[in-house]
Each structure stands twice: as structure tokens, then as C-alpha cells.
């Protein structure tokens, strides 16, 4: 059972150039795969394609094949895909429905949309809040939360759908340092508990902490892939528009200052 992209090329409706070109990747159960790359490299597009929203919901043209547990995303209804593969976007506020007066009701929207029995809606909602340790926010107005809290509520809403795979599109990009730490801890917790995650992220420290594998995109193509140790230590990282994580930067600085490489961890 995997989330599988096989030689995927995707072009947005009306666009001249492809946003993704010949991208292949596979996420198995319990695996976390990171997507790195500069802005406009195709990270968000890859997330939309992996979650099945492109082309089904937003249009465009897809070549190649995307399957979630053997279901072809181009031929599977969005509400079925939503139960297999959940997606979290960058902007916390715009992911909320704007119709719920409490966090609890916001998180319950997905299970309610599925028409589940009330007991199951209740169980899923409390469980999603508990996983992210935000039960204390249950009675709060979602519109009045901090950015980090909103993002956790949006993530809880996705988790309440019980997807086998989580696609996270730069989940901390719009957050302040406190919000980034809050959401980062929550995602690390999910990964430690065996969630299957595809995460696009500019912050390479988070990718290093989270992922078993990282791919680097540049102009829609995969230009680098491997373990975090290999990819994030690659000399071409800055060339690809990715900041190296803090330990790699420190190592380079020390080496450049003349410290013998064997003494640098």
C-alpha cells in the first residue's frame, strides 16, 4: 500500500509550461518524504497532484499516473481520496470553513461531510484534537486563534478524515517562530507515531528532523534525492535554492575556518 507518482508531468490550465516534469516518487506506510526546492520549484503543485486535487478539482493536464493505495487519483472521486490522502495548505486561516463557531465544530466538518454516524463524528473529532494536544481549544472561536493554533486546527480537521497519507504543503511557511515550533512539534509527533507523510518545506531543519528521504525540485524536475544526510549536505543545495540546515552550515563554516574535517562532526 503506497502513494505512488509514476513519471508525472502536470501543467496548470492555461499555463504555457509544465509545473512538474517527469516526477516519480513513492511513499510507503510510516515513511516521511520531504520535498525541498526554491519558490516556484513545483513543491505546492506536487502536493496538489499527490493529494488528487490536481487535476480533479483545479483542472489542468496530467500525464503519468498517481495512485493512492492502488486507486488512480484521476478516476477517484475527491471525497473518497480525502479519506486516503489528506492535505494541509500553507495559509492557516483560509483552510478553515468560516462556518463553524467553535474549533470542535470546525474539526468535525470532514466526518460530518461523510455523513458518518454521530458517535463516530464525536469519536473522530475528539481523537484528532487529542493527537495534536489541542483539546483545550475545543470551545474557542477558530477565527480568533493564533496562526500556529489555526494551523493545528486545520491539521486536526484533516486528521479527522483518518487519511492513510498526509500531504503537508509548507505547513509552517506563514507562521511566526512560536507557531512554527508548535506545528513542527505536532508534525514530528505524527511522524514518530508512524504517519505516512509527504511534506514540502523551505525549512531544511524540519525536513532533516522528520524525513527518511528527501527529493529536491528545480523548475518542476527532480534534481536531487536521497537520505536527508546525503541531500542536505550536497554542495549544490544553495544552487537549488535550498538553505542548508544549521548543523551543515556550522560544519561548513568550521571547515572553511581551517578546522580539520575529521574533527568536525
Amino acid at each position: 500500500m503506497t502513494l505512488h507518482l509514476d513519471s508525472v508531468t502536470y501543467r496548470y490550465a492555461g499555463a504555457v509550461r509544465e509545473a512538474l516534469r517527469d516526477v516519480s516518487l513513492e511513499i510507503g506506510p510510516g515513511h516521511a518524504v520531504g520535498i525541498a526546492g526554491a519558490s516556484e520549484a513545483g513543491k505546492s503543485t506536487l502536493c496538489l497532484v499527490a493529494a488528487g486535487l490536481a487535476p480533479q478539482t483545479i483542472g489542468g493536464r496530467l500525464e503519468g499516473r498517481v495512485t493512492v493505495d492502488a486507486l488512480d487519483t484521476s478516476a477517484t472521486p475527491p471525497h473518497v481520496l480525502a479519506q486516503r490522502c489528506g492535505i494541509l495548505f500553507q495559509q492557516p486561516a483560509t483552510q478553515l470553513s468560516a462556518t463553524a463557531s467553535t474549533v470542535w465544530e470546525e474539526v468535525a466538518i470532514g466526518p460530518r461531510n461523510l455523513g458518518l454516524a454521530l458517535d463516530e463524528v464525536i469519536e473522530r473529532t475528539w481523537a484528532a484534537l487529542a493527537v495534536l494536544a489541542i483539546e483545550h481549544l475545543a470551545d474557542r472561536d477558530p477565527d480568533l486563534l493564533s496562526g500556529g493554533q489555526m494551523q493545528l486546527v486545520a491539521l486536526a480537521g484533516v486528521l479527522a478524515m483518518r487519511p492513510a497519507y498526509l500531504v503537508l504543503d509548507e505547513p509552517t511557511a506563514q507562521l511566526d517562530p512560536a507557531g512554527t515550533a508548535m506545528v513542527g512539534r505536532a508534525i514530528e509527533g505524527l511522524a514518530e507515531n508512524g504517519a505516512s507523510i509527504l511534506i514540502a518545506e523551505q525549512k531544511s531543519d524540519l525536513l532533516a528532523a522528520l524525513c527518511q528521504r528527501i527529493i529536491v525540485l528545480d523548475a518542476g524536475r527532480v534534481v536531487g534525492k536521497g537520505s536527508p544526510e546525503e541531500v542536505l549536505a550536497d554542495e549544490r543545495l544553495e544552487e537549488w535554492g535550498v538553505d542548508a540546515p544549521a548543523p551543515v552550515r556550522l560544519r561548513r563554516t568550521l571547515t572553511a575556518a581551517g578546522l580539520p574535517p575529521e574533527l568536525v562532526l
Binding site: T99, N113, L114, G115, L118, D119, V158
Partner: protein, 269 residues
Amino acid sequence: MTAGAHPRGLPDFVARTESGPYRDLAPTTRLVLALSMALFAFVVRGWTGPLLVLALVVLLAWLARVRRGFVPYLLATLPFVISVLLINTFLYPDATDVMFTIGPVSATASGFTDAVQTALRVVAFALSVALFALTTPTNLLVADLERRGLGRRPAFVLGAAVGLVPRLLRQAREIAEAQRARGLDTESTIWRRARGVVPLAGPLVVGALSDVEDRSMALEARAFSAPGRRTVLRTQPEGAFQRAARWGLVVATAAVVVASVAGYLRWLP
């Protein structure tokens, strides 16, 4: 998969039901009552319509324990009420019963009577709507309408539309603060403030449109387009009497509108 009941159950803040002779009514019944009162105030001419509705609103507001919440609604009617009083009192066509004269214009008794009736009608209409708005949160109304079969799309549109105004106002405030930080003058003369609307409106409109796209994708990712009925969280008990009374009210209101249009209610004071 079917889950058992969660030990914490449906939270009280979701399951809450209100109590009291008015608040016991289902939100849909309150909506029908508000619309009926508003229509009654307008179609029944003279004193009867507005005064009856105002008396009913005051009674229901007392039952629902609504007090100062009416003030903003009353203030909102003020410009219209003042203009109606001035125009009708001084410029009422063909009126000859002059009360007093100020310069070239004369105040007439029949004009003043009509002005007060019209003003009362406007106030009665506003307070009917206000009573409903002050006692019925949108989510309760939407939940009640969904329970009665309203589809998920109209339910979402209704819920989102009501929340749109405060959200846009909040965004406008944030944009205005950001623009002010960059030196835009938003607090001096009217002309300068008017010029400041352009840099405010642009980001607001573009932001709102961009939000729609993001929100629709996020909703789709939470099975918004799934077939069938959504699960209803709240079930407010409703007796046969209330159901019958609501339909009775609909029929009675329609009858009053028809009778008024046909001229059968001219005998009312």
C-alpha cells in the same frame, strides 16, 4: 468502521439548547416569526400593523431576555426615520392641514401622521429582524435548516455569507493598518481618506478572491462534495404544536398579504 460513543460525548457548547418561552422555539420557527412580523408591519397599513408588531417584539424580547442589543439596530434606522419625518411632514403632497410654517415650507398634520406611521413601520421591521439576529446564532439556524433537508451547498453559502462581513471588516482593518504603516493617510480630510480607499480595496478584493480558491480546495479535501446528507450535530426537539403553529403562521401571513393587497384591510385604523 463504526466507533462507539466517545466518553466525552458531544460537548456542551455544541449540544447546548436554550430555554425559555421564546428560546425554546426552533430557529426555523423564529425565522418564520421574524419574517411574518416584518411583512405584517409593512403590508398592514395605518397604525395597526407597526404598533401590533412593535408590541409583539417587545413582549418576545422580554421573554427572550434581550435588552440593549436592540440599540445598534435602532440607531441604524435613525437616518431613514429622520429623513422620512422631515420629508413627509413638510413635503406631503396635497396636504392642507397646516400645523406651522417655517420659511417656504409648511408642516402638515396628515404628512406628520403618515411620517410617524412609516417610521414606526421601519422600526418594527428592523426590530423584528434584530430579535431574530440577537437570539439565533447562524450555526444554530443552519443546523436546524440542514436537519430539515437543506443541502450542504446552500447551508455552506448561508453560513459563509453571514460570516463574510465581519471577516472582511477584520481584513480591511489589517490592510488599513499595514498601509498606514507605509505612510498612507487614512485619518485626515475626507478627500484624502477617499483616495486611501483604492490601496485598501485592491488587496481586500484580491485577497478575498484568493481566499475563495484556497478555501474551496481545503473544503474539497474534507469531502465537501461527498454524496448524501451531512451528519447533523444538534437536534432540537420540536413538538407537533410548534410545527403546526409555524405552518399556520406562514398561511396566515400569506392571507394577510393577499387581503392587504386586495384592499380588504382598509377598515383597520
